[in-house]
Amino acid sequence: MYEAILIAGFGGQGVLSTGQLLAYAGMLEGKHVSWIPSYGPEMRGGTANCGVTISDSPISSPVVTEPTSLIVMNRPSLEKFEGNVVPGGLILINSSLVDIKATRKDVRVYYIPANELAEELGNARVAGNVILGALLELTRAVSLDAVEKSLREVLPAHRHKLIPLNRQALETGAALVRRPATAQAG
Amino acid sequence: MKKVFTRPRSLKDIPTHYCPGCTHGIVHRLVAEVIDELEIFDRTIGVAPVGCSVFAYNYFDCDMFQASHGRAPAVATGIKRVLPDRVVFTYQGDGDLAAIGTGEIVHAAARGEKFTVIFINNAIYAMTGGQMAPTTLLGQKTTTTPYGRDKEVNGYPVKVAEMLSVLDGTAYVARVSVHDPAHVVKAKKAIKRAFEVQLANLGFSIVEVLSACPTNWGLPPAEALKWLAENMIPYYPLGEYKKPAEVG
């Protein structure tokens, strides 16, 4: 198993923390993981992205230049990274925020209205986890249980009450891509 | 027979390299006498600068550091942060402290580092051949101001004691002179207070000592002392610019 996942969006969308959560879950499952952010001024206001690698064997390069999966949280990120995804790879687009379509024909593309779904669950801030749930359903990179366990370890105790909501968000995303009709597979 | 004059324990019994009439020797002796009198010789660490007093580490018999040009206050900061129960002093000239080392001295003072600075102001760069110092007086001739220091070209002399005294981190700031015996006695008092302030953990202490450089001023020693009194003191007024209530 080797998954090199690039998560890209605006600063402030929780892109970096979603990636850390994923890396943490991989670590809890005993896999080799690495997390690497884009850093510096580009973090502020502009695009933010991070690369997460999850693998059964030691990770040679932590730098995700050819992602097996791409999560896109804004339009500039789609334009910037679409071409880098490996043939046969996966692109997950937050269609609540991105109004254009992917152009690649050699990859699987899913459009997920993550913000709307998150708002239906009562909190727009879990949009990242909706799309993460979809990614995990499609890649099996880590289990939803490992993500929930990671939340328990990374969140301070007073925020543990948010864990059920996050779990719900993950499952909503997972369920959506199990029913391709609603997920608008591209 | 009663001995009335003897070498302080804190000074080594070796000849110095200083020129005839140079006042470094006097100030070395005052610092050494104060260290002896306060009985802190065994726990004192000195930091020597770059400049004429670069070999101060050979003359003071306590543990010594030799610092790079201007950085003695940073070196002393490192020492004192590791060994807060030791007594630490730097000995710096006007090129070292008031030009290249301005950043280090200002911030050590602002942080209230608990060490003592002995600052020798002789209004000239001596070791490198009599060039202009930041403390060179307006009109004063040096090898790099052959027509006299011109404020339009070189700006104004830096008044270190005044400048540092406005920082909240300084606890004791004084300017003294060593041009005659009465002033030497006063200078020693100030140096002793500076060390006492350090011993009482009150903050940063500095004594600026107006000194003579007959060689680079081009004057015989006696006339150099007279020149100091007549020219430097009016521009660099003597006195205690700041002192804590706890001392004298």
Binding site: V63, E66 | D63, F65, V75, G78, V82, G103
Partner: protein, 353 residues
């Protein structure tokens, strides 16, 4: 003990604390700021001192003072700040003071940028400051290795009374990987009878790099040279990756070496006999790593995040016996595995230059 996910810059801090370092003096600069942030919190917890200096010049001279006073001490910075420290590093080497200096290298020259680079290799390994001196340079390539090498760095500094530089880059500092910290050990810092801590009834001690008499400075230089020869003999470190039967040997350190491991894997999958030598000590350069492979290796390809610096040491080592090629990206751009694979294929099996 369970693994934890840790950023490289934080791992430097934790590794230092676990190595017994209790003093940090430094000035903020990207991309290493998480390290001072971490130590500003961590050092007071263990009774240490974190002090933000007025400049990098101030920082390295505070290190000089603290090291001379007998402490395990460190500073950290990146390119421009390390340049400012060079005078102090020369003094530390001259006065033979142990300390650790971290350089999370960024793009240069000048203000350059804050993206990852390896363009300070020359500065780190060839002097940087004035005078005939050497600094031991360690180049970790993973967060776990950072933790492990920080201990090595402080121990080497003490063993040889010499500054040690840990050279990383922005990638290594920013990335998170699982690390095993192990049990926190009680560190016994070796006695330092030479430290100037106040005489306390003993002999006078002097921390100094000034030898005004040429005969004396020559003797001091020769003494340093003997020490550097000893370090060169004893302390070369490197990692070998799939070197068995390699016809083309990649040579890369730090982040570039991580990328080259991916290159080796891809090439091996395609049946190309490619391996990697990853220098861990940049100085002393691990010349010993090359002797066993030079018979079988037809050529070497050095990959760096600069325009060709370590390649000179590889050429000195190979000494004309085999062609040594170079591939580099610079300015904060990273070598991409696919591009390096292409470069390998271009060279593989070809005629010697």
């Amino acid at each position: 003990m369970a693994k934890i996910l840790m950023k490289g810059n934080e791992a430097i801090g934790e590794g230092a604390v676990r190595a017994g370092c209790r003093y940090f003096f430094g000035y903020p600069i990207t991309p290493q700021s998480e390290l001072p942030h971490y130590l500003a919190k961590r050092l007071p917890e263990v009774g240490g001192v974190y002090l933000q200096s007025e400049s990098e010049t101030g920082a390295i001279n505070m290190v000089y003072g603290a090291a001379g006073a007998g402490a395990r001490v460190m500073t950290s910075s990146s390119g421009p700040g390390i340049s400012l420290m060079q005078e102090g590093i020369s003094y530390l080497a001259g006065a033979e003071l142990p300390c650790v200096i971290v350089n999370m290298i960024r793009g240069g020259p000048g203000l350059g940028n804050i993206a990852p680079a390896q363009s300070d290799y020359f500065q780190a390994t060839k002097g940087g400051g004035h005078g005939d001196y050497r600094v031991i340079v360690l180049a970790p390539a993973s967060v776990q290795e950072i933790i492990d090498l920080m201990r090595v760095a402080f121990d080497l500094a003490d063993r040889y009374r010499n500054p040690v530089m840990v050279a990383g880059d922005g990638i290594l500092g920013q990335m998170m990987e699982p690390v095993e910290l192990g049990e926190e050990e009680e560190i016994q810092i070796p006695p330092r009878p030479w430290a100037a801590t106040g005489r306390m009834g003993g002999e006078k001690k002097l921390i100094n790099s000034l030898y005004i008499v040429p005969e004396e400075l020559e003797q001091h230089n020769l003494k340093l040279a003997r020490k550097y020869a000893l370090i060169t003999e004893r302390e070369q470190r490197w990692e070998e990756y799939r070197l068995g039967g390699a016809k083309l040997v990649l040579v890369a350190f730090g982040t570039a070496a991580r990328i080259c491991k991916a290159v080796v894997d891809r090439c091996r999958e395609e049946g190309l006999a490619v391996g990697l030598i990853r220098p861990i000590t940049l100085w002393p350069f691990p010349q010993k790593a090359f002797e066993p492979v030079i018979e079988e290796a037809e050529r070497f390809l050095v990959v760096e995040m600069n325009l060709g610096q370590m390649v000179e040491d590889v050429r000195l080592t190979v000494n004309g016996r085999r062609p040594v090629h170079f591939y580099g990206r610079c300015g904060g751009m990273l070598p991409v595995a696919a591009d390096v694979v292409r470069e390998v294929k271009k060279l593989y099996g070809g005629e010697g230059q």
